[in-house]
Symmetry: C2
Subunit: 484 residues, 2 copies
């Protein structure tokens, strides 16, 4: 079983990776911001974080500059000053945990922003299936997947839960690309074998075919990343209407056997919900379909979860399944407005997904922004205290994009925050600084006047920031992106 | 009366400006895209547009390259080849009309993205009034207004309808800055004299004071731009709850006398609507308040218009008043979701406003994107054909940001499209091109794979584009922004 897909205790995780040192020990100095709780960001200024060569955080020191780090912290770790790579966050910059994209179709990347007036079921047939099907062309797949991984890294996404296509070879290629470019990833071959909904030109031949080809990808990933340290497989029944009962049961068995993550879609669109009702008359609800097929467990990532009943949400909470909230997608293809506060109140873990290309943006920062806005559309339909509570704050949407997402993909103890024992999956965010003449030295869409509190600077980043503010990105201690 | 604030017939507009030649005649070659109708963009490829030294479009030629332009078009205009400044749109680039921001508080610019969980009335007291009040400091005002005008120009906004503050000197300074930086602008001194709602530290002393200080700004702008060619005054009663009846009636009289535009807010927030009901018990509705005070005419720009009744919308349509739709703002401060299709069905002209800093973004492209998304949230509450119709297309939101906005500020015959007689208020948009190896040569957030139709490229720009794609911006033929 892979280390990556288990919430290992931090010490164990550190030990497991200490053998494969490829980079130097690192010292980061400056401001660090991360979620302390859902409601609160922690601001560590004038702090130091030491990251071992294998990418694990081994020290977090407050009130620490280079001098103190060299005099006290490095010696304590047994590190030699000259051997350590030092990164100093400049004025206006801060280190932030890398973003987690808990739901993204790498294979749909070329279609971002292209959806017309469609909704889920016609969108699949018009835009999505033809493109996905065309990616069995290796050359095209390489281009699309490389663009997708590079682009999302540039937006600070350090972990992605990917849907590829039904094709084994190019799904494996996506795993290769993630490993080579250094993005932490769950890579899923899409299972869709049901007659009727799946187009003839783009479906698995049978349930057995679905399972066999899924296992091929799992085994391939084991050859390139044996302990699933960076890249891991994820079982991917597309969604109930596209899967036979036999395939879903087979995938549930496979999950128990391999102890890996799984992902699917749930309750995205009203037409889809009606279809599920028709196709699975013996099930009480959409949620019940997955539950009856053995797929609803702690290692299941459910995308959307918009129109759930109280009972469905209770069942999901009981089983410990997770939800990926995809606000850009839900607004774009008119699916609905998911109720994050309500899901949280039920005790369900929630993360953010770009859901490209139902969602138009590769950026989890944009997803966070839209999560704030969509929560206000949810609030518009409520009254009094409920209305007030429905709104998500800047702190809460950043939690969704980092720690929340980490929990959704089972990495809550490993990434999403800055604690000793966690991995250094991080981004360096740069906001403008103002010189003495009030002039800004910085390209980008955020204007800082100099009088803003740190809280307000972070709010400005959330609402007007973009990839220009993401100066450097690290995964497991390795720098995987930088901008001039 | 100024030329700028009148919908002059194109020929007259051209004649009026021919005297003040400051720049050279210009020839633009390449692809031009603009709205033909609300529903349709016109794509002119391999075309030429000739712009006179005073900024007026004097020829639009299809099927025209440099050779043909020099051989046939320039001689026909009596232009000497060597004297003409030539701009050639490269592959992947297209000229697009400049954006019109029909509602923006320049004085709130430093607060973009900062709004917490507030709604209109507490947002005003917590964030807005303190900042606006502080801008009587000339140095601070200069910095804020310069940043706002430069930033919005960089996003392709060629015309803005600005709210400044109650302060005359710094409102005049905003007019100076617009003129110097070359942005077409309506500059409004904010009128707010009502006891109670306006804070003691930030209000006009009396209705007479409101009117006197408004006239001071009008007269000042007349000294810097006598014909209101580029910068014009706009009468600005903040909104009914902040204005006495006497001030509103006085402004209505002033508007009849001066024949200038006016702007205010309407039906943004439910608490605000209740307040208006209390303050104006003799009026039937919020709309009726403005109507009874003589302010509801063809030259009134009403921001928001979210919660209007059928009867109110009918009245607005009858009077010919215009609406500025501000989706970013309406979602951010949980005001509601305005029904653009419904307003259009009533026969009301609608444009887009950033409404900074209720809105978080300086970009009308972002406003267009959010207009599309908000229209889908409106659709979520409807059924059948109505649901389908409520959704705005890419074409429609771009119309809102260009020709729609131009009509809202009374410039429909002058800017917003590329026809002979109109002014050259335009932006050059650059999207990536793909070289033979499938590599992109372009910074920015749009990925082009090479197989996209022009329609899909435009959709990609609307959903993932930003100021990096805005390569050059012209107002009245003058280049006012360019990026490397």
């Amino acid at each position: 079983m892979g280390d990556m897909i288990r919430d290992s205790p931090p010490a164990a995780a550190a030990a497991a990776t200490d053998t494969e040192t490829q980079t130097r020990n690192k010292l980061f100095l400056g401001s660090f911001i991360h979620s302390k709780t859902k409601e609160q960001l922690e601001y560590l200024h004038d702090a130091a974080i030491c990251v071992s060569a294998c990418g694990t955080i081994v020290a977090v020191e407050t009130d620490c500059d280079l001098k103190r780090a060299e005099a006290e912290v490095l010696p304590r770790l047994g590190w030699t000053v000259g051997d350590v790579e030092v990164h100093v966050g400049k004025e206006g910059q801060f280190f932030f945990p890398g973003f987690i994209d808990t739901h993204v179709h790498a294979s749909q990347y070329p279609n971002v922003g292209i959806f017309g007036k469609s909704t889920l079921l016609d969108w699949l047939n018009t835009y999505t299936f033809p493109l996905e099907s065309s990616l069995q062309d290796q050359k095209k797949a390489k281009r699309v997947y490389t663009a997708c991984v590079k682009r999302t890294l540039a937006h600070g996404t350090t972990t992605s839960a990917y849907y590829a296509t039904i094709d084994v070879d190019t799904t494996n290629l996506l795993a290769d690309i993630c490993l080579a470019l250094g993005q932490r990833a769950f890579v899923g071959r899409v299972c869709m074998d049901r007659e009727g909904l799946c187009p003839e030109y783009y479906k698995d031949e049978s349930a057995a075919d679905s399972l066999r080809r899924t296992r091929e990808t799992v085994e391939y990933i084991r050859t390139i990343d044996p302990a699933f340290e960076l890249v891991a497989p994820i079982l991917t029944p597309r969604f109930a209407p596209a899967c036979s009962s036999e395939a879903m049961r087979g995938l549930a068995d496979m999950q128990r056997e391999l102890d890996v993550l799984a992902q699917t879609h749930i309750s995205e669109n009203e037409g889809e919900i009606e279809l599920v009702k028709e196709l699975f008359p013996e099930s009480e609800s959409y949620t019940d379909v997955y539950d009856q097929h053995g797929l609803l467990g702690e290692k299941m990532v459910l995308a959307h979860a918009i129109h759930l009943s109280e009972k469905e949400a209770d069942t999901i909470a009981e089983r410990g399944a997770k939800v990926s909230h995809c606000p850009c997608s839900n607004s774009s293809i008119t699916s609905g407005a998911a109720r994050v506060r309500w899901l949280w109140d039920k005790g369900i873990d929630v993360g953010l997904g770009t859901d490209m290309s139902g969602g138009y943006s590769p950026s989890i920062l944009e997803a966070a922004r839209q999560a704030a806005l969509v929560s206000r559309h949810v609030a518009m339909g409520l009254k009094g205290e409920e209305k007030e509570r429905a709104k998500l704050t800047v702190e809460e949407v950043l939690y969704l994009g980092t720690r929340g997402g980490a929990k959704v993909v089972g990495l809550g103890a490993k990434v999403g925050g800055f604690e000793v024992g966690m991995q250094w999956d991080a981004q360096l965010i740069g906001l403008p600084v103002v010189d003495e003449d009030g002039e800004q030295v910085e390209d980008g869409n955020v204007d800082i006047f100099g009088w803003e509190s740190w809280e307000n600077r972070v709010a400005k980043w959330v609402f007007n920031g973009d990839d220009r503010n993401t100066k450097m990105v690290w995964v497991k201690g390795r720098m995987v992106h930088s901008r001039r």
